[in-house]
């Protein structure tokens, strides 16, 4: 999701809510910082600033709000699984997800009074940190990668079809191999005195390097994965055959180029969505631990 003008409303809401939350926090715990002395500040100032803010009424309100936002944020996964349901556009849900979770930063900080607390609280804060950082990382990637993909991959395909396309590439490579084999045999039969073509080497490269490389998985260690090395290899092979037999080899080279492009798209797609592998499970864990924290806190205190 790209943050643009359409987010102004949400940004204003989040900023306003942060301002209100900050003012209330300062009024309650640091009234001396405020330029205006409010009548309620006297009583509130009785509470020591370093006390457990979470256990105060305001702290509990902040904590509860943050927990509710966590629940709502978690519902996004459910919403995405049913994209056609008319329960508010997913775009709205995602905007709310982004901005409300951003709002949880002041809420959580005010709730914990800028103190780490015990082991559980600290663990909770760490989990929260991981979720927020991974979320922001994902958001940043969504601003960069789509544009990059458009520039780098003008022939981008539907990602889910890549395995099928790889199968097609393999079929094409097999056809070219067969064609080359027939052409070499015909050439040798036509002119038995001509220098022998080292077809063994060529077919070994095709069978042992090209065909495995054209499989759907990304083979980073293959030299065909690097464009320069691949070009060098094909140039060497091309030297082994007469100029009129290079057609099939050039086609196989093109297929390797195509596979490199598909590999690049795969990598970019993984980069674009890989962060979710961290964000989603840790978010789930965060909600569980937060519920446990709320239960323990309310039971103990």
């Amino acid at each position: 999701m790209i943050i643009d003008r359409t987010h102004l409303g949400w940004a204003a809401f989040t900023a306003g809510a942060t301002l209100v939350a900050s003012t209330l926090y300062l009024m309650t715990f640091h009234p001396d910082v405020l330029p205006i002395k409010l009548p309620s500040s006297e009583a509130a100032a009785m509470v020591p600033p370093t006390a457990r803010a979470g256990s105060t009424p305001l702290g509990l309100v902040y904590g509860s709000l943050a927990l509710l936002i966590f629940f709502f944020a978690g519902l996004l996964g459910w919403r995405r699984k049913h994209p056609s349901w008319r329960v508010g556009a997913i775009q709205f849900w995602l905007k709310a997800h982004v901005w409300l979770t951003l709002l949880t930063i002041p809420l959580v900080l005010f709730h914990c009074g800028f103190h780490g607390g015990g082991f559980m609280t600290q663990s909770l804060l760490w989990l929260y940190g991981v979720v927020m950082v991974s979320g922001f990382y994902g958001l940043a990637l969504q601003h960069i990668i789509p544009h990059w993909m458009r520039e780098v991959l003008p022939d981008e395909v539907v990602f889910e079809q890549i395995p099928y396309l790889c199968e097609k590439l393999q079929e094409e490579a097999q056809k070219s191999r067969k064609e080359l084999e027939i052409q070499i045999e015909a050439k040798e039969a036509a002119d038995p005195n001509a220098p022998k073509i080292s077809s063994d080497i060529i077919f070994r490269v095709i069978d042992q390097e090209v065909m495995p490389y054209l499989k759907p998985n990304v083979m980073r260690r293959s030299r065909l994965h690097r464009e320069a090395a691949s070009d060098k290899l094909f140039k060497l092979i091309a030297k082994e055959v007469p100029a009129d037999l290079r057609g099939p080899i050039d086609r196989i080279n093109d297929l390797c180029d195509e596979k490199r492009r598909l590999n690049m798209q795969t990598r970019m797609q993984h980069l674009l969505w890989g962060w979710v592998l961290v964000h989603a499970p840790v978010s789930f864990l965060l909600i569980i631990v937060t519920i446990w924290h709320a239960f323990v806190a309310s039971y103990v205190y």
Binding site: R80, S84, W85, A89, I145, P146, M149, P154, V158
Partner: protein, 617 residues
Amino acid sequence: MSLQPNSHKIEGETLSLEKLLVYFPALNEVKPMPVLKAAATDAAALRRFKKGEIICEEGDFGSTAFYIVSGKVDIFIASPMAHIRTKASTGSIFSRSLSKISSILSTDTDSGSSRKLIPVDAPVDLDVKNPVAQLVAGDLFGEMTCRTFQPRSATVRAAEDCEIVEVLRVILDMLFGTREVSDHVKETTKVKAQTFKGTSLKKEFDEKYRRRGLQTHLSSVHLFESIGKEFLDYLVETVKLETVLKGEVICSEGDIGDGFYLIRNGMVRVSKKRPGGEVVLNYLTRGEFFGEVSLITEQTRTATCTALDTVDLVKIDRADFKKMLDQFPQFQSEVSAIAQKRMETGNQLQKTIQEEVGLEEFLDQGLLEAQNLLIIDLDKCTRCDLCVQACAESHEGASRLIRDGLRYDKYLVPTACRSCKDPLCMTQCPVGAIRRTNTLEIKIEDWCTGCTRCEQLCPYGNITMHTIGNDDGKRTWIGQVSDFITTFSVRKKVPVAALSPVSKALPTPAPTSSSLPTPTPTPSPVSAPTPTPAAPGPKPAAPAAAAKPAVQKSVMKATTCDLCMDYNMPSCVYACPHDAAKRVNPATFFAKQMPSLKAKPKFRLFANDRTTHTENK
């Protein structure tokens, strides 16, 4: 025997010219005789069918017409009335009901202009609720398939033992004088193409139609329901029966309106002039009408109507139309409402055209053909595929959208219906099931026979065929309860699984309005039925196992994006989390975007080729 270069084989007894002349004596009028002899050789065969045998099946391709010599046949649509429903097929009872309620609350964009009759390639139309009729001796069916190679529009089965003459197009051309020779053929071939002027049989058929079929035809048109019988009798005597050949203009935009037209046979294109070309407003088929706007408004014609193939028309003169308007207030109000709607559609289109500026390059890519284009901003799209998933979820798992296609700068034009200005997909539907709604979207009616013609005609690959009706027994009890609840909501869309195939309960056929004479040598043993719709027709033979093949075969339905008409926003756009998917008018949208597009537009085609569109045109 092989009858034509297309190697269509007719089984049965090949008819020599002498025998053919027995069935069609009017062929004697074709001169000179050597031409007749050459043309009629191997062009017809006599076929005998036992009771229950299938004569032809809907969706089959063919190049022949059938003339019933003796006996009766049932003509019906075997495909179940169904379509891919627009609602979520998965999820809990809560979600399904919520979606349903939401759809009920939203505005329905198609205000129910569905037709009551299905036009088929025979002298009768089929009732949508009861798509079966009977043809008798002297009737001709399969004429449009023979002339235009459209797929068969209906299944025909022998109701009793019958004899039928199956003929190739050349016989029809000789009898009716309707052979068209295109300018291209004239220019490129040295051999002079043979043309036929027709025989007295054509006049005879017209007269028969006027006596037997016209009143039925007129009274079957919803518009004429309020017209009194006396006036209908008067019309039967005064209307003109006209035949227009392929490509001929019936009336031109700007002309003074001289009459009202009812289509008896064939297809008419309604178009409007615009800067740089013309826009097709609609394609009209048998049973539809045109020409009323200029007569009501006392102004010139607002659109041009052209025959797409040989078109038979019923023309009501201006004076008679005026009389109808004066004498029948209900007729006046109904026809005025229709004219008003048509004018609004034309004006809306005109307004859209005026907003289109400086986008000539779009023409090459067909983007200007589109009225409502789905685009995806690739700079915003995270390739999450939710648009496709939402589309599939909204249509029982059958997505009408493929996230691949043409690119225009940072915009991807996915494979989804564009609601083209000239919807070629509509031009050859044998049963008129694909149509345009009042809001210009393309809609496929439930009686689609799955012939794939529209799919082949769409230049952008935006119509897909889906198998339906196989979800029987797969639903969970929660899903079944949800279905039960939603079935009783406001919208009456019958679940596919609940539909009975036609063979299970063949309804009573409507009586035919026979328009062809009984052949002289073999007088029909069955008299033509009374041409009144209310008359009880003879019951068809008990459906035998012969109908089964047609029913089992017809499980395919064409689907195309209808912009989720039941909702207020297409599901693909609604589901996009990143504001990347949009439905836009391409001309106005890109006109606004043009200054911000950095480079000259780069075009790319994945699966579709614009040349197809040009060729089809």
